[in-house]
Symmetry: C2
Subunit: 406 residues, 2 copies
């Protein structure tokens, strides 16, 4: 007999994962399976493998040192390479002592939830936000996420005023709000925090006694030439930055997540909890090698940006031709599109019905806005970092399906 | 500011880990550092690297498939190879659907604690037991471990009667006892569960409505020619078996843990919680390859057993010559020795003082019995699966230190 506390896990909606594997069972192939599924629903980058392959092939087999125990929150040499990447990105000197690694970004998010919140403490999150936040913060760690509604009419922007209003309301209800959480670039919108946005948030959180968690997993997945402002650059004790190698390096299968913080107590607790989510030394050495060649890294980021920009320009052209409205993105591997005119009515039930129709009839997996707590129905996230021919075919199929719906 | 619930993590005794790294900073080397630390305190096997190296070198670089997401509780092909290993070991047909992998055996133990216990539910554990159980079951998952005292005068044996007595006492105190936990081979004693022991435990737990957790991480690390009875062979719905590759395969640095169960609800919950402790696909493929060659595996286990037996015979000879009493072991990488005659008095304070003296004066790291909830002070666990010359030097140093104490 299982415990009572696993009930929410057993009853959780597993459709998202089920669809991923349904796509994987019969994937589209121009020649061999032209009617197969096209998965626009999983935020993976398929445009970088040749670059990553070239670098990872340089790594030899398992070493004796890696076969034995090392520091359970990440080998020092690995954390040093990560610190160097972060220093370059943030423009400030990052120490490996302020870094904890764990088996996946989800693991890092859960560790933060555990270390910053007691059960039923709450965290403010501007909408729309990454669907995995609910799972990581709430499922086992028991932190409550409080969505802060965005202004749909103004590019999903979130003002300090609306955050303050949500905070005051929560406090009036007796809820202990411990932190604010967002991502930059933001999943699913692709907007980024400007220097000013970031400073405002840092100051607001400090004034209100809140911790600030910024998920920067898409930090180097940007089409924009604007400079990127990492939360690490603030060097503030109440700011905690999350990173991983799944997106910028297209290494989702390696499950390596990273926490950066200046809070020594948090780091000590996170180090201990990382024992439950260890990254294999074998994989640490692989990623360490990828990070160790500065010249290669610079070229890699340039090529990755160039390929991402081409892919973004191509899909936004497709969308313009098809008269599908979308949000302009500065980063991420997706574009957020507005299909509300194809809904039967202005409801999330209608959004779900459209999502099912697109999946079943067009064999296209899209991510509906409800997943991201988008306040307005009809928005969908399309991941476009797939082979160009596949994206083109997918959009053609989608448009045909939508027209038959209209 | 961190959460209240991290207080026990911050205040936990971290001496064990500190000593491990102190040993690592100045390790013994016959020529280069003859006065360096000899670490008899960490249960790692240093006798198998050449065999493992040979096999792991056959594996090529990262594959494109492994760079992307796969099943988060372990790739099917990996679980199939594990299932084959388990089938051979247990003599029954094990399905990959009954297997969940996670990043380390500690992660698997915590997942079991979460899925079988609600906070403050309890688990009976015969003493002496693996010190990591307290951490894995209690630290975050909040399950209470209730030690069942063993009979020191009778080879630390634990009878069903004493388990029943502990259960009745706990129930009288209103404690909700959910499970019983032990390991076979048992850390730190090295005894194993006979077929009869196992059947008795399975029946007792069934009759009392308890789940039974057996940690078999040392399943193939045995000196005895007696057959091994895996808990998986019982095929009972209330029996859950834990495994990992740290000991039998000397791959502690890869952090791969495995759960086997026939309870479908438990498996479903464990699959979900494994998302927080993913094993890198890269490392899964490495271990999958090691498991895939049946002929190699058979020879590997034979050679591992032969080397372990030689090392065990050598250290027990050393101990006999030094008149140090020890428990005969059938498995594990350690021997449990009785140094009580060197204690200043019959107390755990005196055991700790002796442990400190041995560490500081002899530069020998031993694991004191208190770590394992041993009911009698003065017992120490010595891990002997190190280079023979190092073991010999360590025992000589230890004996010299003890004599100066006597």
């Amino acid at each position: 007999m299982v415990s009572k506390r696993v009930s929410p896990i057993l009853s959780a909606d597993k459709e998202l994962v089920a669809r991923y594997f349904q796509c994987k069972q019969s994937p589209y192939h121009a020649e061999h399976n032209p009617d197969g599924y096209i998965n626009f629903g999983t935020a993976e980058n398929y445009l970088l493998w040749d670059l990553i392959a070239e670098k990872t092939q340089e790594v030899g087999g398992l070493t004796e040192a890696d076969s034995h125990y090392a520091e359970l929150h990440g080998k020092r040499s690995f954390r040093q390479q990560i610190a160097r990447l972060f220093s370059t990105r943030s423009g400030v000197n990052i120490s490996e002592d302020d870094i904890v690694t764990a088996a996946g970004t989800t693991a890092i998010l859960e560790i933060l939830a555990y270390c910053l919140c007691d059960p039923d403490d709450a965290i403010l999150v501007p909408t729309p936000y990454y669907s995995g936040f609910d799972y990581a913060f709430n499922m086992r760690a028991g932190a409550k996420l409080l969505p802060v509604p965005c202004d749909v009419s103004n590019q999903f922007s979130v003002s300090i005023e609306s955050i303050k209003a949500a905070l005051d309301e929560a406090r009036q209800q007796g809820i202990n709000v411990r932190a604010m959480l967002t991502s930059s670039p933001r999943n699913p919108i692709g907007d980024t925090l400007s220097k000013n946005d970031l400073q405002e948030l840092v100051q607001f959180c400090e004034a209100e006694g809140l911790e600030l968690i910024i998920d920067e997993i898409f930090a180097d997945t940007r089409t924009s030439d604007e400079p990127f402002f990492s939360a690490m650059s603030t060097e503030a004790n109440h700011v905690h930055t999350v990173y991983g190698f799944a997106k910028d390096f297209a290494l989702s299968g390696l499950a390596v997540g990273v926490l950066h913080s200046k809070n020594k107590e948090l780091l000590e607790a996170a180090q201990e909890l990382a024992h439950f989510s260890r990254v294999s030394n074998h994989t640490q050495s692989l990623v360490e090698h990828v990070l160790s060649d500065e010249k290669w890294l610079e070229q890699f980021f340039q090529q990755a940006k160039s390929r991402l920009t081409d892919a973004y320009n191509a899909i936004t052209n497709d969308l313009q031709e098809a008269n599908i409205p979308y949000m302009e993105a500065k980063g991420g591997v997706f574009v957020f599109v507005n299909l509300s005119e194809y809904l039967d009515n202005d409801s999330f039930e209608a959004e779900k019905a459209l999502s099912n129709k697109i999946f079943n009839d067009c064999k296209i997996n899209l991510s509906p806005g409800a997943l991201f707590h988008c306040p307005q129905p009809g928005w969908f996230r399309i991941t476009y970092t797939l082979d160009r021919e596949q994206v083109k075919t997918g959009i053609t199929r989608l448009v045909k399906g939508l027209k038959s719906q209209a």
